[in-house]
Subunit: 278 residues, 4 copies
């Protein structure tokens, strides 16, 4: 399916301020025929960078005082790998590729090291595999309040567990914390997400199962086969769409995504979904 | 039933040190014919005090450097009020006696203000009354590890919830946090507890329901009708059996309780149990 | 000096809701010739209560759905005890009145048990006495941001220490935490505070030194000899001016205080100030 | 200077258990003529890996039940770059290499995002440059207790700040948190450290200043020009010398380092020290 997507960000910059942007979609094998345009107004010198060990594309600019607009738009064919989830198992640690191991570690917002007993008590008895991660998502989706304003940029997985409330980043952080505590590698994915209402940047996550990274959305907001990836990382700290280091007043944000030849009323897939990163 | 009970505490005191002891059983209407003896070796001047609004009996001493032994022993008839729990409801806040209201407040180790949504999600749908507090105890008892060494004196109800492990004080703190979050007054009770194996000071709690304080034990270790109360308070900070303010090496602690004419093999009561404090 | 003071609170009550009010000034020996009026509109049945071991006057009402206005106004002569602070020492714990001992304990928002080493490192080397508590206040006042919106009702002394920012309740909590960690009893005081700009309910604290409770204000906002006490307690949880238990929309709050025959331009006292509670 | 170093680790493995080891010294330009041997007993199949974007060398094994011994020994010439610290400034963010930017992010044990105001208040007024990071180290070294047993593997920079105590990992975490909060990139370094008494694995950190990563040790235990690097990462989670995933009883650990032709009594350098990673 071919997706058209984009975002427009506005800032009032009070002093010369470095920005680090991560709004461009990742260069993946599963992202074919990518066409895109990043327009920065005023036109500024850009430094581009792909974070080693990831496909995250960063653009750094130094914005002068004044109005700043960042407009990114593109289109891409997304090839997803879909599969019956019942056949997908967890991998023994000894068989994990070594580059996957860091996604077992705790991170700033994903304190999996504090949640071993909790994860074991709630999910330890379940059959191992894709269905166990789905059970984690179901538990969060069914027992937590999805409320804008219930969290802030410092909110961690443990905070979310106590508060029983959060937004997409918080739901992903908590689900990832349970996965890592159960020795399932998990990483955060920022994306343009088809089906998300209202449209916005979205945060979902991937768990490494049966030799692939499979997508999950603990909020049940987006279609898993309509995720157009921007970045992947340990947690929200790694995949901020825009970081700035100075006096800046953020203005309105607009995000959009459309699909060609996709029936928006069709029921969502219950398949296991993966996007080739190779 | 008449209980004989006591404790013996040993300390090596390195410098003149004030101690605040709370090992004597409370003067309650339900504690009849109390006989007791508190022997402090060496024999020291004592200041005695009953904390206002409680029946907690404190003894303050100034211990000189050297060995210190505190031996308390006594006997008392405990009159318990037993009742079918199914008829005991929760009270509307507007009907609560005002002296009970402080036990709705959060306290050092019982951060009920952080757990409103959690309590509501787990226990909000249950029928209100004694059975709901029992459900809270069952959930903790069934889902948490009762492990010595899993907590320390700074551990809070929130810590316990995350760690899914604790000792008697922690189980009581968490149960009380859920009660207060649900607008059920709850207070901690320290006690000599018949049936506790191995014998030790015990921490249970009371919830205010249907016009009385009813006893609960989220650890399911002790017999509720065999609780000989020492103190009651907001949390562990209020009912420490011994606090000291200087260089002291704590030595062995011995605690005992026996019951006259009680069959130790009889099944434990499932009645709602209350002790008259009037 | 004779003070006139009061407050007017507005609420839109969505369902019958119990309120617990603590806006009336305390009945203290140092509060002479108190005249006051509490008008509740609509006129509701009141239950009154003085919390044992305190002089806090609570009024409970059950408000029906609709508009609720609480207006309290009064006048009182405040007799303060003023003294050269240089002669006021700290008291050895063994000499403390037993009713003062609970104010050495940690509480919900004052985790003094976590700050022993911090307090010792920052203030342990200072000469013991009134000046040491002043040094604590100076350190907070000089090194923290006094910002509305920097905290919320769950913010603790430890949070404040990390954030280096807070409002009056937070400054008081942190100062009290250091005091208790240094074995100086400390309690929170809510008050009508002469000199506070803009006028509002104020939170200060008292430390027990040389046999009296002395007032301190880590925010340096109010005149210490112009504090008209409402309540005293372990922390903000004990002295909320209004707690309610239902769907309520808080409206505007107005608080005022004026002094007869006091020169508002006179420099503030640097004396140690105490109000007799006897 | 040529250093000889090594470690010997013993484990009793209770079930087949994957281990991830990071004890080999990094392949750096400044590490010349490295000779080394890693002996695993029993002899096991090894998977080797260099974490992308780092020089951290990981070895994965699957240990069978039984005794496991890991012995690593080697020798290397360390070329350090030494410089007068007074001339080394901080870099504007807009000039930072993009691969350095992730070391401005908060991480599991380094919650720099919570410490902006604290860092600004304590260190914001200091002249920017190498000396400011030294001032951070001095403040921690001078005001914190270096105590074994004062922390555990879950302890964070914020916990350390509150407790005013820690071990080498904690001192490094806190110093890094302040650096990142001040917009100075900082990363953790695990090392064989000449001069550390008693010998052990050591944790120090690097700050990115004037176009280089400069070494700092907030514990003041090791000689900065005697650091033989094993790994670098965001925090302790990234540079554990051994992680295992199964029932294992850790046995004794031995770590050693010696220097050829270095006078162990010579005063330590006060130069700024950097090791070329290019």
């Amino acid at each position: 399916v071919r997706y058209s997507f984009g975002c427009e960000l506005h800032y009032t910059v009070r002093e010369p301020t470095p920005f680090l942007l991560n709004v461009e979609v990742a260069h993946l094998a599963g992202h074919r025929d990518l066409r895109e345009e990043l327009v920065i107004t005023p036109d500024l010198e850009r430094r581009s960078y792909v974070v080693p060990g990831t496909e995250n594309r960063q653009v750094a600019i130094l914005a002068p005082a004044g109005e700043l607009t960042i407009r990114y738009s593109g289109a891409v064919d997304v090839d997803t790998h879909s599969e019956d989830p019942s056949g997908i198992g967890e991998m023994p640690i000894a068989k994990l590729p070594l580059e996957v191991m860091p996604f077992l570690l705790p991170s700033r917002f994903v304190q999996s090291d504090l949640l071993y007993a909790f994860a074991q008590r709630e999910f330890g008895y379940l059959e191992r595999g894709h269905g166990r991660v789905t059970a984690i998502c179901n538990w969060i989706c069914g027992n937590f309040n999805y409320w804008h304003g219930s969290s802030n940029p410092q909110t961690t997985a443990v905070d979310t567990l106590i508060a029983r409330a959060g937004v997409c980043r918080d739901f992903a952080h908590l689900a990832m914390a349970f996965c890592r505590a159960l020795k399932i590698p998990a990483r955060m994915v920022s994306a343009y997400a088809y089906g998300l209402q209202p449209s916005d940047f979205h945060a979902v996550f991937e768990a490494y199962l049966g030799g692939r990274w499979y997508l999950f959305d603990a909020t049940r907001q987006a279609a898993l086969d309509g995720i157009v990836r921007i970045g992947a990382g340990r947690d929200a700290a790694d995949v901020a769409f825009a970081a700035f280091f100075g006096q800046v007043d953020p203005g309105p944000i607009e995000v959009w995504i459309e699909a060609e030849g996709r029936d928006s009323n069709a029921p969502r897939t219950t398949d296991a979904v993966s996007v080739s990163t190779g």
